[in-house]
């Protein structure tokens, strides 16, 4: 996927003026946060589980090489194959080679963000293999030639009339000639159209929420059942997983599962949690004949031992997106790459470069809700600050911003001067505001005054008030 993170400001501005998007985003705000809160209220141990989850994942990261090797050995012992990919190009090549070896023409896919990260669909299509997304949201956006705007609800930027248009344009060939806006009917239509595609696919590709080292098992959590039909019907099952998805044991994965769906959709657990180990056994009567796991690095191993290591704890629940005021205002596409919201603002500069994605860690009000709701207690705001520092050090931030910061630093290091300048500035602003205490426009502050009046400072400066209080106390 070609990133557009460089034009984040313009993307965000367009998103704010997109009436359909703004309508759709209301569904996000009224949905996930309340459901999450209700689910957590029913589990008194939730915060203690967050501590346990954080500690477990830290343990995994400290011993990642050991667990990856064990995972590989266990997959192999059960007749599966593990393939290691340093980057997107290698991962795509591996998948293509597996598909070619069985002369695959169509590939069904369960939802996978790693697949989005490596741009697998375009790559397969360019090589004559048709990828078919089967998660309802992914299917809708594939028909519309879009990318997901959310990591677990890929079509959250759309309204039902837009889904109806997409189905009406594409489903005539299957005998669905009436345009229908009823969500239930739309889903039933997708179910019927995709059923044949599941049955005819040569290869099924899923992601992995977890890879269990103890047993060589990959785990997916879904609600629709599409990930299961994707992996049990075709002859070949390929799993795409990034290297940090390891959970040591089945007990450990159970801890993560208690955190994941409650944080994501507010469900106690998703409808389907599926543990896949190797290909079908000789005595089995169904299931895939081949089982492949592609382990993708793509820059993650370089995060170990550094200030972004904690980001590798992420289990992709999307709670940080769902509670972020910035994401809630502009949706996911404005971020310009695969991972939006706070987790994307930390991960994207690492994966595609801070020179391209430097605007993302700046797209934050630092309200801290993302860290408050993160089931793995990832210090997202602190890591966004690390990126801002790096951006500044590498002279990537805009000249005006750097000048302003330098000017502020000059005064901040000279407290006497700072105090007198703020005193004067406050007086000037009061004078400008006149009798009603509002300023309608101000040089250099257009970003504020274009939308609302600036109230003038009232009373004394903070420093003056503080000094007065200290005096009163003594």
């Amino acid at each position: 996927m070609h990133p557009t993170s460089q034009t984040f400001k313009a993307n965000a501005s367009a998103a704010l003026h997109d009436a359909a998007l703004q309508r759709a985003l209301k569904n996000l705000k009224s949905g996930f946060p309340g459901k999450r809160a209700a689910a957590i209220a029913k589990l008194p141990e939730f915060d203690a589980l967050r501590d346990a989850g954080r500690d477990l994942k830290n343990h995994v990261l400290e011993h990642l090489d050991f667990y990856l090797e064990r995972f590989e050995a266990q997959v192999t012992a059960q007749g599966g194959q593990v393939h290691w990919a340093r980057d997107a190009a290698e991962a795509n090549r591996i998948v293509l080679d597996i598909c070619r070896a069985v002369e695959a023409r169509t590939v069904t896919k369960g939802k996978s963000m790693v697949s989005e990260e490596i741009g697998l669909n375009d790559f397969l299509a360019a090589n004559g293999i048709e990828p078919i997304e089967t998660d309802l949201g992914e299917y809708i956006i594939q028909l519309r030639h879009e990318h997901p705007s959310h990591i677990i609800a890929p079509a959250i930027h759309l309204n039902r009339d837009q889904v109806a248009d997409a189905f009406h344009a594409h489903h005539g060939q299957y005998g669905f000639t009436e345009r229908n806006e009823n969500p239930r009917a739309l889903m039933s239509e997708a179910r019927q159209v995709l059923r044949q595609r599941f049955l005819n696919a040569d290869v099924g590709i899923t992601g992995a929420n977890f890879c269990v080292a103890e047993t060589g098992t990959t785990v997916i959590v879904t609600n629709e059942g599409n990930g299961d039909l994707t992996q049990i019907l075709p002859r070949v099952h390929i799993v795409l997983a990034s290297i940090e998805k390891i959970a040591p044991t089945l007990e450990d994965v159970s801890t993560f599962l208690r955190l994941l769906s409650r944080s994501a959709t507010g469900q106690e657990i998703t409808v389907y949690t599926t543990f896949s180990s190797g290909p079908r056994r000789p005595e089995d009567v169904d299931g895939p004949e081949q089982f492949h796991v592609v382990l993708l690095d793509n820059g993650r191993s370089g995060m170990l031992g550094g200030e972004f290591q904690d980001m590798l704890r992420c289990i992709r629940c999307s709670a940080c997106l769902n509670h972020c005021p910035v994401y809630g205002a502009i949706g996911g596409h404005a971020y310009g790459w695969v991972y939006p919201g706070p987790m994307g603002s930390v991960l994207t500069p690492q994966l595609i470069g801070v020179d391209i994605a430097g605007a993302l860690p700046n797209a934050s009000t630092f309200c801290g809700r993302c860290e408050d709701v993160c089931p793995m207690r990832i210090p997202l705001p602190a890591m966004m600050r690390h990126w801002r520092e790096r951006e500044f050090e590498r002279h990537l931030s805009p000249a005006g911003f750097r000048f302003g910061l330098r000017a502020w630093a000059f005064f901040a290091q000279r407290p006497k001067l700072y105090q007198s300048v703020t005193r004067i500035a406050a007086r000037v602003l009061r004078w400008l505001g006149g009798r009603n205490g509002r300023i309608k426009s101000l040089p250099l502050a257009h970003g504020w005054t274009a939308w609302r009046d600036l109230p003038t400072p009232q009373g004394q400066t903070f420093q003056q008030q503080w000094a007065a209080r200290q005096e009163k106390r003594s």
């Binding site: 009224s30 959250i156 059942g225 299961d228 005595e283 031992g305």
Partner: protein, 223 residues
């Protein structure tokens, strides 16, 4: 071994500032994998057995499954027929080729047309047998194998699952213990199933019946 593999492992070790694990540290990790410790388990998963069954039923219903309790396994065929008739469903049935299921008195239900096999396109209803029920979230656990094809869990519109009450455990960890006690290793697929399939991908409104079964009916047999 591939170049990519060696390079990824080397970068990991460079970041962690050490070589491959050896000695005591490695032995500790090996021991942890050999005897997996249990992490924090919620109190709701540690109820006495009778209350576990109640919790399982409550949470399965909350996940939009339907549950029917019968006195014993022999009562299952009649309960299945009654369910199909109540729901206005056809009497064609695919039965998992499980000796415990096929041994039930299906002959007493002449209206049924039964086939014993994996699922194929067009199957309307199937009956499968659960390995366990997990009370903490009302979850069924089914294992793939010659007696329980995985396709039965996903292709038919209506999924009927027979669960014996004494197979209900409290926590996920208890279910893993039962699987280990079985002593046959991991089956190709372990399915945890909590309610019928659904999606909220259109305007965040939950609709039941996505790609998997439209209905999940649990026949809970004592003991």
């Amino acid at each position: 071994m591939s170049e990519a593999r060696e390079q990824i492992l080397a970068t990991i070790r460079r970041g962690l500032q050490r070589g491959p694990l050896a000695g005591e540290r490695r032995e500790q990790l090996e021991a942890r994998l050999a005897q997996p410790p249990r992490n924090l388990i919620p109190a709701r998963a540690a109820l006495p057995p009778a209350e576990q069954v109640e919790l399982f039923v409550t949470l399965a219903l909350a996940a939009a499954a339907t549950v029917e309790r019968v006195a014993d396994l022999a009562a299952v065929p009649a309960a299945v027929v009654a369910f199909l008739s109540r729901e206005g469903l056809p009497t064609d049935l695919v039965l998992a080729p499980d000796p415990d299921l096929t041994a039930l008195p299906w002959d007493g239900q002449p209206t049924l047309h039964i086939e014993r096999r994996a699922a194929v396109d067009g199957d309307k209803t199937c009956v499968a047998s659960a390995f366990a029920g997990i009370a903490e979230t009302g979850t069924l656990m089914l294992l793939s194998g010659p007696h329980s094809p995985t396709t039965l869990n996903f292709l038919p519109d209506t999924h009927i699952v027979v669960l014996r009450a004494n197979r209900i455990v409290g926590a996920y960890e208890d279910a893993w213990s039962r699987l280990r006690e079985r002593g046959q290793g991991m089956p190709r697929t372990v399915n945890w199933i909590t309610g019928p399939s659904r999606s909220a991908d259109i305007e965040q409104t939950i609709q039941l019946g996505a790609h998997g079964p439209l209905r999940l009916h649990i026949v809970l047999a004592d003991p």
